[in-house]
Assembly symmetry: C2
Homo-oligomer: 135 residues x 2
């Protein structure tokens, strides 16, 4: 767990419980579902209550340390927020998820040019076949 992240947590009055640390240790820049996170925690020998996991994810999102994304299935996927804004591609065959960094400026102009709304945010995910599954 980065010193920076730890600072941010404590600065906000968050405590460094072993639950929160374990959860943060599992999160990465690849979005993971709650089921995946819980599964990994179990593999590592942790047996936290689901309530604890949900509450931690929510508060981390609330405080901007973690991002929640919707993908194809139900529920949310969580990833560390420490990267700059980007999107994802998910393999329709194996489920692998990868970051994809678009030309955001082009995207936003494209949108602004076709709507009268003052656009504040967007949600964009791609689906396809990853290199491994192509061959």
């Amino acid at each position: 767990m980065s010193a920076n992240l730890q600072q941010q947590l404590q600065h906000r009055g968050h405590r460094l419980t072993k639950q929160r640390q374990a959860i943060l240790a599992i999160l990465s820049h690849t979005p993971q579902s709650v089921a995946m996170i819980r599964h990994t925690l179990h593999e590592q020998g942790f047996h936290f209550d689901k309530t604890t996991i949900y509450r931690n994810l929510h508060s981390l999102v609330q405080h901007g340390l973690v991002l929640a994304t919707k993908l194809q299935d139900d529920g949310l996927y969580y990833e560390l927020a420490s990267h700059h804004h980007h999107h994802h591609v998910q393999c329709q065959n194996c489920g692998r998820i990868e970051d994809i960094e678009l030309d955001e400026h082009a995207l936003l102009q494209n949108a602004a040019a076709h709507s009268t709304f003052a656009i504040k945010q967007h949600q964009l995910e791609f689906f396809g076949i990853c290199p491994q599954c192509q061959s």
Copy 2:
């Protein structure tokens, strides 16, 4: 209900029940949640079981007559599939949803240029403030 739609249904062995007709009559090109659809049905004096509504929406999506979209909240939003591919903007203030037709070619090139996946589909929704809510 368009003659074309009716044809498609019967061609696929679907029956024109009053339930299915009422549901289709409510659907438009603006995505609606199941709650909204059920609410309108009630207003119109129909009291179909929720099972019937879910099953109809699912089979209509399955057969390509209806599109299901994810927006900000949980659950899916349904709209008629008879338009060409497009996206939506949802007002963060009043909830109003509008179609938005992007330059899809530019979007897909933007994506292809930044990923090694063979991209097959995408999911893109915008959120902002509608003209009415701006003033």
